[in-house]
Assembly symmetry: C2
Homo-oligomer: 392 residues x 2
């Protein structure tokens, strides 16, 4: 009878009506039935990305789409190309570091900006690298760095890239559908997301859109690619098919979950996530906890493990929440392990879910002899909701 | 109320109890609950592949695993490597051609054996190429070529590779779990399958196992790889995790479907598929249809469209079967379009499903004025079943 509550940065909880869709018999992908659904999905994805470009569906997780961006835009050294392409990567956490690792796996000339954990990258830091390396072709960055909870200055990065005539390649895996990242309006060149985030689906699908400038870069790219060949995908997906067999059931679920997002509308969706984030920050403050990031994202809130706790005790907080109360949050990764807590508040998540998470956190902290007044965090959550004037 | 019946080479029909699993709330992958299921899956996959090696689970379709095999075993030309690795690819159809395309996408020195459509490759043809190119590192081939219905001499190819000390890289996407391909006993170096075939799951997972020799080749491979980095996957999967977020729901479904296959047992599974294939061939013969392949696979039966039909009429057969009778089969692809029919009989498919398929085929052929005696094909199906002595 024990209930589980996912307050994790992916997978997120899946709505019941989406789950029910997965229990339907599978359809074959080379049928008009599938093509009609895929057409619907494409239109929904354009709404989600706020773009007129085709949004390609890949059967992989978001990391596959990140690799696709690298393999499809750039060139390596070969007989006819004396130098590998140069790129700037913004490493503000584990996921930014992934851009660096992918670029290096393809032997690109990679200039990495390492940002202090919890901070957003500054425009000055990127501009400095761009000036130092005038051959740079692109800046690869996250919209929201999920490992630290820091929100990046996305529009300013896109503007800077435009000014320097380099491509802006944005990992929006925990951003798209959570807060406003209008691809066309901000002239982002690549935008990526995954199915198990705002889309409230199981992992297994990634989505990527390229601007006209990015497609032009694709024309001259010489890096090896096959499964993630975006040109081939575009050709197939323009005809409502995919280059390789798609993850059919996830595609069908996506049509259902995107309809739910569309019914909510961009404005309500973004306002709600802002409010859930504010509620979580207010709860943390009310409990005397310190925020880890000074550029907090609407996606997830990172709080420091209280100074009195050891790393091992820090790890225990999430463990107690999960094992005793069925509330699954994530702690810090790598060097942040046992030092921060990451409380996610997006996807199929409302203010009552956030309140549950804070209640479980309060109980876990009390058990570890952290002094707090039970219910004070939840009161802050509910007050934020009430004050926001937002309906469920 | 119209029922649909999938007699296609993937996706295949999904058992009801597997579909029901997909309707369960998702679990987080960084939990002991997931790890316990993944451990079970790994053991089931070793049973399926008949190997002691770890079978890696990738979130992609089978093509991703084919690319992984290439990217992880071979080396391209670079500063320290004056020549790209040489490989032999067996192109006996659309899927064999895919090996060639992948090897060429990675700029490998690729020697392609083109086999007449519908035929199996001969050992003599491969040996000739091996003698002509003594630097060759591997032979890349299909176990069963799904586009033509031809069964390849898998064990003989593996033996030949062993004799020449080259790697045998086998796409078993439509083979593993359908007929006997014992990886360890036959000393295959790479074996691959996908979720939407014998495993009776939606597309979205691929599985790949490497022999000790293949892992040794991996050590010196210099081709770029990230999402499909098998060494990284092995390290993670040995700890019951995955390098990237896995397609969690499909993993959970796989545990259920593999349990069903295990309950059936290898012997019954393989004998049943042999019998279903024989039943289909007998039905085709009874209806005066000619088999397309002289090395017919237990996976799917290819029959020639009767000579009196044009290509357009040939295409109509599957169209009528699908639109009027809800029975979905596949026709020929590319140059075989409108010239052959592909009747699949594997996965969650029994003799009554085969009978339904043949009934729909009889009706469609009659509608196109092909002379036949209604029911004669089905009678041949049921007689084959009865004579086999096999139970359902």
């Amino acid at each position: 009878m024990k209930k589980f509550r996912l307050l994790t940065p992916g997978p997120t909880a899946i709505p019941e009506k989406v789950l029910a869709k997965f229990a339907e018999p599978i359809v074959h992908h080379r049928t008009s039935l599938f093509e009609a659904q895929f057409k619907e999905l494409q239109s929904q994805l354009q709404w989600l990305f706020q773009t007129k470009e085709i949004v390609l569906t890949l059967t992989s997780t978001g990391t596959g789409a990140m690799e696709a961006a690298v393999a499809n835009l750039f060139s390596g050294m070969n007989a006819s190309t004396p130098h590998a392409d140069e790129v700037i990567t913004v490493n503000a956490g584990k996921f930014g570091e992934r851009w660096t690792k992918i670029a290096k796996a393809y032997n690109l000339n990679t200039h990495e900006i390492v940002v202090e954990r919890g901070k957003a990258v500054t425009i000055a830091a990127i501009e400095k690298e761009l000036r130092a390396h005038p051959q740079v072709k692109a800046v690869l960055f996250q919209a929201s760095e999920t490992s630290t909870g820091a929100l990046m200055p996305i529009k300013a990065i896109a503007d800077l890239c435009k000014k320097h005539q380099v491509l802006s390649v944005c990992d929006g895996i925990t951003a798209v559908g959570i807060f406003d990242v209008p691809m066309d309006a901000w002239e982002l060149d690549v935008l990526i997301t995954g199915s198990q985030k705002a889309l409230m689906l199981p992992p297994g699908l990634a989505f990527i859109a390229l601007s006209a400038r990015a497609w032009k870069a694709n024309e001259s790219s010489n890096l090896p690619k096959f499964y993630f060949d975006l040109k081939k995908e575009r050709k197939a997906q323009e005809k409502m098919q995919t280059a390789w067999t798609p993850a059919i059931s996830l595609v069908q679920g996506a049509v259902v979950s995107l309809k739910m997002l569309q019914d909510e509308g961009h404005q309500k969706l973004f306002a709600t996530h802002e409010m859930l984030a504010l509620a979580t920050r207010n709860a943390a403050t009310a409990l005397g906890l310190e925020l880890f990031s000074d550029a907090p994202s609407p996606v997830l809130t990172t709080v420091k493990v209280p100074a009195k706790f050891t790393v091992d005790e820090g790890k225990k907080i999430a463990k107690i929440m999960q094992e005793k109360y069925g509330v699954i949050i994530t702690g810090g990764q790598d060097e942040l392990m046992g030092k921060i807590l990451r409380l996610s508040h997006f996807g199929y998540c409302d203010i009552f879910d956030v309140a549950n998470g804070i209640s479980a956190l309060e109980l876990a902290l009390l058990e570890l002899a952290y002094p707090l007044e039970l219910g004070k965090g939840v009161a802050a959550v509910m007050k934020t909701f009430k004050d926001s004037g937002l309906a469920l």
